[in-house]
């Protein structure tokens, strides 16, 4: 292990205080290292989260009666256990930290969000691709929506140490074919594993870098990048404690260890605070495919635990990031988190106290620039005639509207025709979920440089 290199950075970069008190030279005269760029953290809840159990009509809401009738077989949440967020709705009982974020105006809820009505799809694996590739209806798109964002953004400096990080073993569909995306699941496993001394290790790395840099196809580039990323990751202090006493969720069976998702967000926060330059990141949280025994109200491996996990992790992440960043403001101010899932569940529960695949669900937007403490999106209703195919919560917000608004206002990228090809001006319905001056979106439907349709 080459911990020697890791040590030199400890105590210097690790602390955000150190970073914040260093002379602010990065922005003098508009330096190319534009550290005022906002950051997007994309969280994908894989499996299709039951939106009706995350945000639920309470007593007094006109749909409460419909809800109770639909959820009569084991997934109904009593009104008095819900955490009110106004408008007749309450968050899941385990979502306390989420309610706090909401009350601090740091969290917005977009209701009934999903794939467009003409591409409703109840297959996980199709719907995930439709969402993350940014092309509803086409699962063969060769690049992800964040790949195309990075390729068309004009506000980033020419080089960034780690512009795109995925805290998964593999790159996600959102970053498909993104050459700079680093997939970093276990920091401790992101290095050669030898006991070498006498520079065998570093010379071997250098030789491998020479070999990969001599080639010129995708794998060669990927290998070069992996070696460079190895060196950068090696310099990050992953033992740095969270700021502000932020408390990431821990495992029920082993309180000394973070949950998988809590650990991912802590890594992301460390990378951000130690100025590796993350502009876009992704962290996944799976386990939402609750066909049976959903356990909305029971502690132990069910929906309840998962909601608590993500709630605590979101809260900890933004508490951790609430420290001054170079260039002014805090990291939390400039970091926006977008929380999505491929679809919601059937409005009615099944006989196994679970829920099957449906259409719309909630999207959450948290953190910097969020017009929080509010709910967005037309509520489609739960009366029999309101449901899609008599079965699903109807989608009233095309997910691309929310993501586009974030691109325009937070990430300063207006190349919507490249990122969401086929998404038309008439379909774009900004909700005001985030603040910031919006660029004029470019919906120009010419084939463009990036998204090319070989069929036409």
């Amino acid at each position: 292990m080459t911990t020697n290199r890791r040590k030199f950075i400890k105590g210097m970069a690790a602390s955000s205080v150190a970073a914040a008190t260093l002379p602010n030279i990065a922005f003098a005269g508009g330096s190319s290292n534009n550290y005022s760029d906002n950051i997007l953290i994309f969280v994908f809840l894989r499996g299709g989260i039951d939106g009706l159990s995350l945000l639920t009509p309470m007593d007094g809401h006109p749909d409460r009666g419909h809800y109770e009738a639909l959820r009569s077989r084991g997934t109904m949440i009593p009104s008095n256990q819900l955490l009110s967020v106004g408008g007749g709705f309450g968050l899941h009982p385990a979502a306390g930290p989420m309610q706090e974020l909401y009350q601090q105006n740091d969290l917005a809820i977009v209701r009934a969000c999903g794939l467009p009505s003409y591409e409703v799809n109840r297959s996980h694996f199709e719907a995930e691709r439709y969402a993350e590739l940014g092309t509803p209806g086409n699962r063969f798109t060769q690049t992800g929506w964040l790949t195309r964002h990075l390729a068309t953004a004009t506000n980033y400096p020419p080089t960034i140490p780690l512009p795109a990080v995925v805290t998964e073993s593999n790159v996600t569909f959102s970053f498909l074919k993104e050459p700079t995306a680093v997939s970093l699941r276990y920091p401790y496993a992101f290095d050669f594993d030898t006991t070498e001394n006498g520079n065998f290790n570093s010379d071997q790395e250098q030789a491998l870098a020479n070999i990969y840099s001599a080639g010129n196809n995708e794998l060669d580039s990927a290998g070069e990048q992996a070696l460079a990323a190895m060196d950068i990751v090696d310099q990050v202090d992953f033992d740095a404690p969270p700021s502000n006493g932020a408390s990431y969720p821990t495992r029920a069976d082993n309180p000394s260890r973070l949950t998988t998702f809590g650990g991912k967000l802590q890594i992301m926060a460390q990378l951000i605070k130690q100025e590796t330059g993350v502009r876009v990141g992704q962290a996944d949280r799976g386990g939402w495919d609750t066909h049976n025994n959903q356990r909305n109200l029971i502690i132990g491996e069910g929906f309840y635990d998962k909601v608590r996990d993500i709630s605590e992790a979101f809260k900890a992440f933004f508490t951790d990031l609430d420290v001054l960043a170079p260039g002014g403001g805090t990291w939390a101010d400039r970091t926006t988190m977008l929380v999505c899932s491929e679809f919601g569940r059937r409005a009615f529960d099944n006989a196994d106290a679970g829920t099957d695949h449906g259409w719309a669900t909630n999207t959450l937007v948290i953190g910097g620039g969020v017009n929080g403490g509010r709910q967005y999106g037309q509520w489609p209703g739960l009366a029999p005639d309101d449901l899609f195919q008599s079965a699903d919560l109807r989608g009233t917000v095309d997910y691309r509207s929310v993501w586009t608004e974030i691109l325009l206002k937070r990430l300063h990228n207006n190349q919507i025709h490249q990122i969401f090809p086929g998404f038309s001006e008439s379909e774009y319905k900004p909700l005001g979920v985030v603040s910031g001056s919006a660029l004029e979106p470019d919906f120009n439907n010419d084939p463009g440089l990036i998204y090319k349709d070989s069929f036409e």
Binding site: A13, A26, R46, A69, E119, N121, R122, F125, G137, N138, R139, F140, Q142, T143, T147, L150, P161, L162, S169, K177, P179, V182, R185, Y186, F190, F192, D193, T194, G198, D203, Q204, E205, L208, I211, A214, G215, N217, E218, L219, D220, S221, A222, G223, L227, A228, D231, I232, Q235, E275, T276, H291, F348, D352, D356, S390, L449, Y451, K452, S454, F455
Partner: protein, 612 residues
């Protein structure tokens, strides 16, 4: 209130023209790859950090933008190496020579090799030998040959001391067996295909029932690898593991659970990619070229779920035996309670049917041309490369379809692909995934290890493999591990593969618990290059490239390897290393030992060892 619950016929349909037209369009509409060279300027670099307050992250160099096209600059290796890297886990020393001895020209050699691999004998000599010591009661492979009922009784139903480990032991043994067989099996194609089909019918290894039944589940797949697809599908549908994992054991009338029905259509047979039409009226669909309804809809999912009610296993409930074996529970089956027929695509199941309600539908699905296309596409993607040519997919699908009633249907489908021009001429359209990289390196170096559970050298390698994101039998979702090159050629899979390789090579010269046999690469090097004067960096590199890979890498890679050995040994490129350091010092920590195994590491971590 009149809410439609599971009465699925009540679901209203939406006719969707976009959806229908899209299907044709999809076939040819692969969108072009990533941003062109000019569009991309982000990179990993330390070059622009001078004015940053950030730590001086020292990336090795600025990343070049990726080329727009892949593979154009990659030279394919000789056919023997190509075959062993694409249709096997990589060559072991001797494999290339053996392949080349199979005939007078490449065509004959490939034909003969494929024929051998498609007809494995019952013996798997080295695997059998290495396992033999560990099959006894209480040993590391003692669950592998148990029947379903034995696994059920001994593991699923076990309660008492060490409950978790007793229930999990079959899984742990199977995980290790994947490595053992991948590394040592002479039936390499079968191992590759076993991995393919397991992931096609994926179950998650750590789930209850599955963790204990895994030897049986995998065995049911392996029984049909070279057989008939319908037989494989049917056998799979009767396993407790699948019925548990996808909830069909809970699929009972009047409470259908659609999970398994959906995945049979979406993942096991027709596939969602070309044949799922979503929430449309099934009556709006046309027919395919074989006169079958062209695909499935949400209605078909619900209808099929009904047909599958009662398709279960014996777990003691309802007066059944408690064996974990397949059981059709006719009292829980739809037709014994209802008067409406079930319609799934073109099949209409009459009222009062029994087990044949399900087998009729499975037969139909197995013989559907859409299934032929889907399986053909997946196999071509696995064996040839991503985005396989439509002509090959179509001809493979025809082979699959035309042989649908043959007992050796799948064997002939594989043969069709492996003898195709596309297989022989496509190189670099895939990368080895971490499991394949690691096994490939273990094969090339001829590691000597009886890989098994509760054995620290095995466990150390296995633990690192687990960090790669491709631990065997561990994909969460029923899709199995993805196969797309773009998902596996990123930094995570590469770095975690490399670190496992550097780890076991680093350990190779250590007898670190006495049960890993001494694996002395410096000694092997000297056997390969007996003349001390000949142990030059150049000869060392050339000899090891041929020994490990069966061919020489390109000139630039070769030059880089020679330079590395020269730097580390202190010898000039054509000077004997022995002039600088004792090449007969075979100890763990001798300079020569380190030079040898770090060179081997470089050869096995190079891009040409990662390509398929």
């Amino acid at each position: 209130m009149n809410i439609t619950k599971p009465n699925v016929t009540g679901i209203k349909c939406m006719t969707n023209k976009n959806h229908l037209t899209r299907r044709n369009f999809l076939r040819n509409s692969a969108l072009t790859g990533a941003a062109g060279a000019s569009a991309l300027t982000l990179g990993l670099s330390n070059k622009a950090q001078a004015d940053s307050i950030a730590p001086q992250y020292s990336g090795l160099k600025t990343l070049k933008p990726p080329p727009v096209t892949e593979a154009s600059t990659v030279t394919a290796p000789p056919l023997a190496a190509l075959v062993y890297n694409k249709a096997a886990f990589g060559p072991r020393p001797g494999d290339i020579d053996a392949f080349n001895a199979l005939g007078g020209n490449d065509t004959a050699r490939l034909t003969n090799w494929v024929n051998q691999q498609l007809n494995p004998t019952t013996a798997d000599t080295e695997v059998d030998t290495r396992m033999s010591a560990y099959l006894g009661s209480g040993s590391e492979y003692d669950t592998i040959n148990k029947t379903a009922a034995q696994l059920w009784t001994d593991h699923v139903r076990y309660s008492g001391a060490n409950e978790y480990s007793t229930k999990s032991r079959p899984r742990w043994q199977m995980e290790r067996l994947v490595i053992l067989k991948g590394t040592y099996s002479q039936w390499q194609l079968r191992e590759l295909l076993a991995d393919f089909w397991f992931n096609h019918f994926n179950v998650k290894g750590n789930r209850d029932v599955v963790r204990s039944m895994l030897p049986h589940y995998d065995g049911e797949i392996r029984n049909h690898i070279f057989g008939n697809f319908y037989d494989m599908l049917l056998a799979n549908s009767k396993t407790a593991s699948m019925l548990y994992y996808l909830d069909n054991y809970r699929n009972t009338w009047p409470h259908p659970n659609e999970n398994y029905a959906r995945e049979v259509l979406e993942l096991h047979t027709l596939g969602a990619t070309e044949n799922y039409y979503g929430a449309v009226d099934p009556g709006s669909l046309g027919n395919n070229i074989k006169g079958q309804r062209t695909g499935y809809t949400e209605i078909d999912v619900f209808q099929f779920a009904r047909a599958l009610t009662g398709w279960s296993y014996a777990d003691g409930a309802g007066g059944s035996a408690d064996t974990g074996e397949f059981l059709f529970r006719s009292d829980k089956h739809y037709n014994n309670h209802a008067s409406e027929p079930i319609n799934v695509l073109d099949i209409s199941i009459a009222v009062d049917g029994g087990e044949n309600d399900v087998t009729d539908i499975l037969t139909y699905l197995a013989e559907h041309y859409g299934t032929a296309r889907f399986i053909a596409w997946k196999l071509c993607t696995r064996l040839v490369g991503d985005n396989p040519p439509e002509s090959l997919v179509a001809s493979t699908a025809d082979e699959f379809y035309n042989r649908r009633n043959d007992a050796d249907q799948l064997k002939e489908v594989y043969r069709h692909i492996l003898l195709s021009t596309e297989f022989k001429t496509t190189w670099g359209a895939k990368v080895k995934r971490p499991l394949e990289n690691i096994i490939s390196a273990m094969r090339a170096t001829d590691i000597d290890i009886d890989f098994r559970n509760d054995h620290s050298p095995s466990d150390s390698i296995f633990g690192r493999l687990s960090d790669t994101g491709q631990k065997p039998f561990n994909n969460d979702t029923p899709t199995g591990y993805p196969d797309e090159k773009a998902l596996w050629s990123g930094s995570g899979p590469l770095v975690t593969s490399w670190r496992t390789i550097t780890y076991f090579l680093n350990q190779s010269a250590n007898t670190f618990d006495g049960s890993l046999r001494y694996f002395n690469l410096a000694e092997q090097s000297n056997t390969l290059i007996p003349d001390v004067a000949n142990r030059t960096p150049t000869v060392l590199v050339d000899t090891w490239m041929m020994h490990l890979r069966g061919y020489a890498y390109d000139a630039i890679t070769r030059a880089n390897l020679i330079t590395y050995v020269a730097i580390k040994s202190g010898a000039a490129a054509t000077q004997s290393i022995h002039d600088m350091t004792d090449t007969n010092n075979l100890s763990n920590s001798s300079t020569y030992q380190r030079v040898v195994y770090t060179l081997i590491g470089l050869i096995m971590m190079s891009p040409d060892a990662i390509r398929r």
